[in-house]
């Protein structure tokens, strides 16, 4: 039975449980609902929850754990017998899974029958053609051992899936039986249901924590793995970024500094665009603009915030880059030849700056509006002009909040990916020329993890160390910025 069917069965069972138990509750009160402790529906809900929730969670846990446990068992068997020196266990296991998957798919599509799978597997070439016909391509180093393991794997998976179905259904039925047995007129169904619902609500709130744990776990685990293969001192202090794709480790230089520099440089350019433009627009909109102008300009600026970053990426690569080259490039209007290609710090920075304008302006708008009117009146009342009031009273009063907003914008800029992937270039460089292509932490995370390199190699694992760096920097900025902004809000509450 597939998971979808199992889920359907669970839903049907719980609905059945609802009506049956509700009926029993009414019957136990001789059809007089007033003598029940709770409304009849609550007895039904109770049954529904008891049927569905435990069975569902067991099913989910099973789905997560089964492949991991079976994989471990198959791989331990495999390594006892056939693992030779130059084989990498994780690669072998991914082959095993792929063959097993392919056979499953072939059966699902009716290319072969369930019982033929055994025979087909005996013939390696036949297997390859069969699997490629269902869209699974095998590497050249698939051996008989791997196919045998794949058969093992399929066998175990099949058996355990059956056991899973049985266990889940038994749980559902047991839940129903329990609900049935407890249902009588004096059972406090509402209180029980409400406690259960509260538990579910709490569970949902914990997903936020789980996500953070997941992020930290996946970053730390792989970063540690990376530092086992590659010296940490080189990662932090080497001034060069040159991963090799053919070799394993050794010949790669994976220094984070050039990437960090690129990231900071581009973010700096972006902030140099976004902060003045965003801040001045916010000031104009909140202090000078008539309601009509405000009503038009504010939503227009906010449209910029709703545009996905891939669009900005394309804009950088295909519009802004060539435009800048036509000025600063070879044979450009300025005749300076500073710019070799369209992708550059300037390209990515400008576009990212445009993206951040609404971010800065709407945050600053809130913050400027939070400065009490009395402060403005005090200044205007002794004859200051409006701009003097803004520059010398409102802005200093709003300064902490604005600094917080800028830090949040900086954290956005540092974590931005698509614009730099498309607009900044691929070469890691420590240079001061803003018209040169440089690359960033995020861009390299993408390129290291989407290439074909092996997951266990330092070239791929370095992405996690980069991710960790990124996470720590942005987290630090965010926490600090939120702290400042909150402090600031309290001041005027």
């Amino acid at each position: 039975m597939s998971v979808a069917w199992l889920l359907t069965a669970l839903v049907l069972l719980s609905l059945a449980g609802f009506f049956i138990v509700k009926g029993r509750a009414l019957a136990s009160a001789d059809g007089d609902r007033r003598s029940l402790h709770s409304l009849p529906n609550y007895y039904g809900y109770n049954a529904m929850l008891l049927v569905f929730v435990p069975a569902f969670f067991v099913m989910c846990a099973w789905l997560v754990l089964q492949p991991i446990l079976i994989g471990a068992s198959v791989s331990s068997e495999f390594s006892e017998q056939n693992l030779t020196e130059d084989m990498n266990m994780s690669l072998v296991m991914s082959d095993v899974r792929r063959v097993a998957d392919g056979l499953d798919q072939a059966i699902a599509k009716g290319a072969i029958g369930e019982d033929e799978a055994e025979e087909v597997a005996a013939d390696l070439d036949g297997l390859k053609t069969l699997l490629s016909s269902v869209g699974v391509v095998l590497g050249s180093d698939v051996s008989d051992d791997i196919v045998a393991s794949a058969q093992d794997y399929r066998g175990m998976a099949g058996t355990w899936s059956v056991i899973r179905d049985v266990v889940v259904l038994i749980l559902a039925v047991a839940g129903f039986a329990y609900a049935w047995s407890r249902t009588n007129a004096s059972f406090r169904a509402r209180n029980t249901v409400e406690r259960a619902v509260l538990a579910l609500l709490i569970g949902a709130a914990f997903i936020a924590i789980l996500t953070t744990v997941g992020i930290i776990y996946s970053l730390i685990f792989n970063t540690v793995e990376f530092f086992r293969l590659y010296p940490a001192s080189e990662f932090f202090f080497l001034l060069e970024w040159a991963p090799s794709f053919s070799g394993r480790g050794g010949s790669s230089s994976l220094g984070v500094l050039p990437l960090l520099w690129g990231t900071l440089y581009i973010s700096l350019v972006a902030l140099a665009v976004a902060v003045p433009v965003g801040l001045l627009s916010a000031i104009y909109l909140s202090e000078y603009a008539s309601p009509a102008v405000r009503g038009i300009a504010k939503p227009l600026l906010e449209v910029l915030a709703g545009i996905p970053t891939i669009v900005y990426g394309l804009f950088a690569l295909l519009t802004v880059g060539p435009f800048l080259v036509s000025f600063f490039g070879d044979e450009g209007y300025l005749g300076v030849n500073w710019m070799g290609g369209g992708t550059a710090v300037m390209t990515a920075g400008l576009v990212m700056g445009i993206m951040l304008i609404p971010f800065v302006s709407s945050l600053s708008d809130d913050i400027i509006n939070a400065v009490p009117q009395a402060m403005r009146d005090g200044s205007l009342g002794i004859g200051a002009t409006q701009s003097e009031t803004i520059r010398q009273v409102v802005l200093p009063a709003a300064l902490p909040g604005i600094v917080g907003a800028i830090l949040l914008a900086a954290s956005r800029a540092i974590g931005e990916t698509m614009i730099v992937v498309l607009g900044a270039g691929a070469a890691a460089r420590l240079s001061l020329n803003p018209f040169e292509a440089m690359t960033t932490i995020t861009a390299k995370i993408v390129s290291q993890l989407t290439g074909d390199s092996d997951f266990a190699s330092p070239e791929a694992l370095v992405a996690f160390a980069l991710g960790m760096t990124l996470f720590i920097i942005t987290l630090g900025l965010n926490v600090f910025a939120l702290f400042i902004v909150r402090k600031y809000r309290e001041q005027y509450e």
Partner: protein, 439 residues
């Protein structure tokens, strides 16, 4: 305080603006102009961005086609089907029909197979497929509409660098353009709306013009489905707990800090999470909308929780008190009274979260949703589990290919993406207008 009696200096008339005030007013005007300039810069950027998208993207929705009436008789069909190179045979039939049309239109052109390929591409298979499927049409005249070659297409869209075409170019030669112009005048070529771009699937580099965005739109919709069905219930449940039930203690404080920080974590970090946990560790299928949906769910949850809590908070406490006052339990008060009143706000927040998720690209790259997907999934579940692309990932994929036709398609894809986002935002705004309530 003796100095209290010093007379204030006699000032000049109010009606004359003094030098200093004039300077200060000039500074005031300058400052105001800075603000106006800043707003203009922002709005101008938006205008340029939209202009770039529209001017580059609209051609993706058009396609130059060759329209030729062809008549294939039963005998010709049988003869063609009995040969070894069947498509070649059909091509011959097409060339014959096209030549006839050209002569009757008075166009001098040599339609050898090389020239045909430069103008139209390989058409034999199109014809064959049509007639094997519709044998009844044999013997009747059929108006065939086949896509023109991609360079001809680009020539009519004005994106082909005509001055660089030389006679030794394999793909297009100067005289082809004249023939194409003549054919257009004679009604044999036309520019039509390209439905295939909207409904079609990705293609390889050999047929860039045939690439469509349909499959990846479906991939995105499947992901949004997953996000909606996970993020909305989980987000609402978490918000209800935090806003209505949670005691004020360290743990709930920690959860709150967690949520506000998660909202600001760069999206690519969620991609890393998805890669490490869902794919590396749990071995869920790569490139599957299901996994993409999981990752985007985790990413949108904080947004949804924050907006849901805001709308729960805006329901006045008097409503809760009223419900509790008539003997409802706290849970009943929340689910019967507070939640329905907060629902429009929650929906608005959810739609905005979904819109954000729809445009997100970076995390999808990491979990491999940039695969080449050349067919639609057959079933709903197959679609969730099987490899698919997503709208923004497909756009990214197209930009990274070198062919200019794919670049044009990428811009076109952006128009579609923005139409989706616009629709969602309009729905959110309408919802807010329709249900906005002031207490």
């Amino acid at each position: 305080m003796t100095d209290a009696t010093t007379p204030t200096p006699k000032r000049a008339s109010l009606l004359a603006v003094d030098e200093r005030t004039r300077k200060r007013n000039a500074a005031e005007a300058r400052f105001k102009i800075y603000g106006i300039v800043a707003i203009c810069v922002g709005v101008l950027s938006l205008v340029v961005l939209l202009a770039a998208i529209l001017s580059n993207g609209i051609p993706a929705f058009q396609r130059t086609v060759v329209q030729v009436p062809v008549t294939v008789t039963q005998e010709q069909y049988d003869a063609a089907e009995s040969t070894l190179f069947k498509t070649k045979e059909y091509e011959g039939l097409f060339v014959a029909a096209l030549s006839a049309e050209l002569t009757s239109a008075g166009i001098e052109a040599d339609i050898s197979s090389g020239a045909l390929e430069r103008l139209v591409g390989k058409v034999g298979n199109n014809l064959r497929q049509f007639y094997t499927a519709n044998e009844v049409q044999l013997g009747q005249e059929v108006l065939f509409e086949v896509p023109a070659a991609s360079r001809i297409d680009r020539y009519f869209k004005g994106t082909l660098a005509v001055e660089n075409i030389t006679a030794d170019n394999r793909f297009i030669q100067p005289q082809d353009l004249d023939v194409a112009e003549a054919m257009k005048d004679a009604g044999l070529m036309a520019t039509v709306f390209d439905w295939n771009f909207i409904t079609g699937v990705d293609t390889g580099v050999d047929n860039p013009g045939g690439a469509g965005i349909g499959a990846s739109v479906l991939g995105s919709l499947l992901m949004m489905f997953v996000v909606l069905f996970l993020a909305l219930p989980i987000g609402v449940a978490a918000s209800i707990y935090l806003e209505e039930f949670a005691p004020k203690n360290r743990l709930t404080d920690f959860i709150e800090v967690n949520i506000s920080n998660l909202a600001a974590v760069p999206s690519i970090v969620f991609g890393i999470l998805g890669l490490a946990v869902f794919i590396q560790y749990m071995h869920l299928p790569q490139s599957a909308p299901l996994v993409g949906g999981f990752v985007l769910t985790l990413m949108t949850l904080p947004t949804i929780i924050i907006s849901t809590r805001a709308s729960l908070k805006s329901v006045p406490p008097s409503i809760r008190d009223a419900a509790l006052g008539v003997g409802a339990s706290k849970m009943q008060a929340v689910f019967h009274h507070v939640l329905p009143l907060a629902a429009p706000g929650i929906l608005t927040g959810t739609i905005i979260g979904l819109a954000q998720a729809l445009g997100e690209t970076a995390p999808l790259l990491l979990i491999g949703m940039v695969g080449f997907v050349a067919r639609y999934p057959e079933t709903f579940l197959g679609g969730l589990e099987g490899p698919n692309s997503a709208l923004p990932a497909q756009i990214y994929n197209w930009v990274s290919r070198s062919d200019a036709v794919f670049t044009e398609k990428a811009w076109g894809g952006i128009i579609i993406l923005l139409i989706f986002l616009l629709t969602m935002n309009i729905i959110a705004i309408l919802l807010r207008r329709r249900f906005e309530r002031r207490w």
